[in-house]
């Protein structure tokens, strides 16, 4: 079966394209290595042909051009794959906070985790530098509709102290009427559920 150059690289792109926006498929190290291997092989063929042309052989130029185009295509697909994964991981910092859920973290490569931590740190430094006391930009992500909201607790958490000092017992299925700004991050983590 005739193989086309750039097929493996396209597989990576398809994998991302098929997965839905908020999800991240596991880091496909295998396919990535195969693409790099293909690039290495193409390059070596080209080196051979260039050497032969210098030595006087004719008619090799088309082949060299063709392989070079495949090399560029592979490079473009790889960079697009990596860049788009980074975009999704970036969104997760805003959705989940500094600590990623375990099942999502499993899908990241080591370097992507490293990128995520550096991104988190950069973001944290920036937020601290706003105004006098810093400003947490990951709060107040929705326009406020009301001051207090009705929430139901989904998990047993125990005691929770509100802003004005009152202590609330967060037991599973208990309902509370709390300040929206205090519940926001608990709702995002899945501990509380907003009752509409």
């Amino acid at each position: 079966m005739a193989k086309m150059f750039g097929e493996k690289a396209l597989e990576l792109i398809r994998e991302l394209h098929r997965s839905s926006e908020g999800t991240l498929p596991p880091y496909n190290d295998d396919t990535l290595r195969q693409v790099l291997e293909e690039m290495r092989a193409l390059y070596e063929e080209n080196q051979k042909d260039v050497g032969a042309t210098v030595a006087g052989e004719q008619g090799l130029f088309a082949g060299v051009q063709f392989r070079h185009a495949s090399l560029e295509r592979n490079k473009r697909c790889l960079l697009a794959y990596l860049y788009n994964r980074i975009q999704r991981i970036r969104t997760m910092r805003w959705e989940f906070g500094i600590a990623l859920p375990k099942d999502i973290k499993e899908n990241l490569s080591e370097q992507e985790v490293l990128w995520f931590n550096k991104y988190s740190k950069g973001l944290g430094d920036y937020m601290k530098s706003i105004g006098d006391a810093g400003l947490d930009l990951t709060q107040d992500m929705q326009p406020p509709k009301s001051l207090y909201i009705e929430v139901r607790c989904l998990v047993d958490v125990g005691e929770f102290e509100t802003e004005d000092g009152t202590i609330i017992l967060l037991k599973k299925n208990s309902q509370h009427f709390l300040r929206r700004s205090q519940c926001e991050h608990l709702i995002r983590q899945g501990i509380l559920e907003h009752i509409v």
């Binding site: 490079k75 960079l79 973001l123 400003l135 107040d140 001051l147 004005d164």
Partner: protein
């Protein structure tokens, strides 16, 4: 409105040329402009800082109030709304800075001293750090392992750039005469239009980008 009470209480504290209500209006305008403009606009960090100070003062005052006072609820809602506008404004800027990071840094490095910067100092630091992080990731994971002649990472060619030709809605805040609008098609030459105060239009962003900058139109 709650705003009037606020500015009576805090205006005397500092030598402000605008009342707190004015600052908030300007901030809202900056927020909407930033939201609808395809490129990063000038940083209004002085408005943000001023508003943050106001919020701090308001919160302090509220803690001193008698608990159960009805007005506390109204004021807290107001504070929540203002905090939302501020955080949304800064978030929109951050996402544009990240999306067009190379373009923005390039503009910043090439600008003349007379032009003002689109990035605040803190945003510049953030943009640099983000660009470095991204570049070192791509280089160490992929580019380093590629054949030698492909290892150049030409950011100028591959960087995403904002689409200045996108269409936006605008409202005219000050009369403008003789605005030059180039037609997309080759048939018409540059067309000159007059913008009347209060009128609303839909057009490409590029011809009116300067007008957004100086405040004669605002995006809606």
């Amino acid at each position: 409105m709650a705003d009037e009470n606020e500015h009576e209480e805090y205006d005397s504290d500092e030598e402000v040329e605008m009342t707190a209500a004015d600052v908030l209006l300007k901030l809202e305008e900056a927020w909407l402009n930033e939201k609808f403009a395809p490129e990063l606009l000038e940083s209004k960090s002085d408005l943000v800082e001023c508003m943050l100070e106001q919020i701090q003062q308001m919160e302090e005052n509220l803690t001193r109030c008698k608990k159960g006072d009805f007005r506390i609820i109204i004021h807290r809602m107001e504070l929540d709304r203002i905090k939302y506008i501020i955080t949304s404004y800064l978030r929109i800027r951050l996402s544009k800075i990240e999306k067009f990071v190379h373009h923005n840094l390039e503009k910043e490095l090439n600008r003349e001293d007379s032009e003002s910067s689109k990035l605040s100092n803190e945003e510049f630091v953030y943009a640099k750090q983000y660009a470095d992080n991204l570049e070192s990731h791509l280089k160490s994971v992929a580019i380093k392992h590629m054949p030698p002649n492909l290892q150049n990472f030409d950011k100028d060619k591959t960087a995403p750039r904002p689409n200045l030709e996108s269409y936006i809605f605008l409202k005219v805040t000050e009369d403008q005469e003789g605005v030059m609008v180039e037609e997309e098609t080759d048939e018409h030459e540059n067309e000159i239009i007059n913008l009347e105060k209060g009128a609303q239009h839909i057009m490409r962003y590029k011809p009116i980008s300067k007008l957004v900058e100086n405040g004669s139109v605002s995006l809606i």
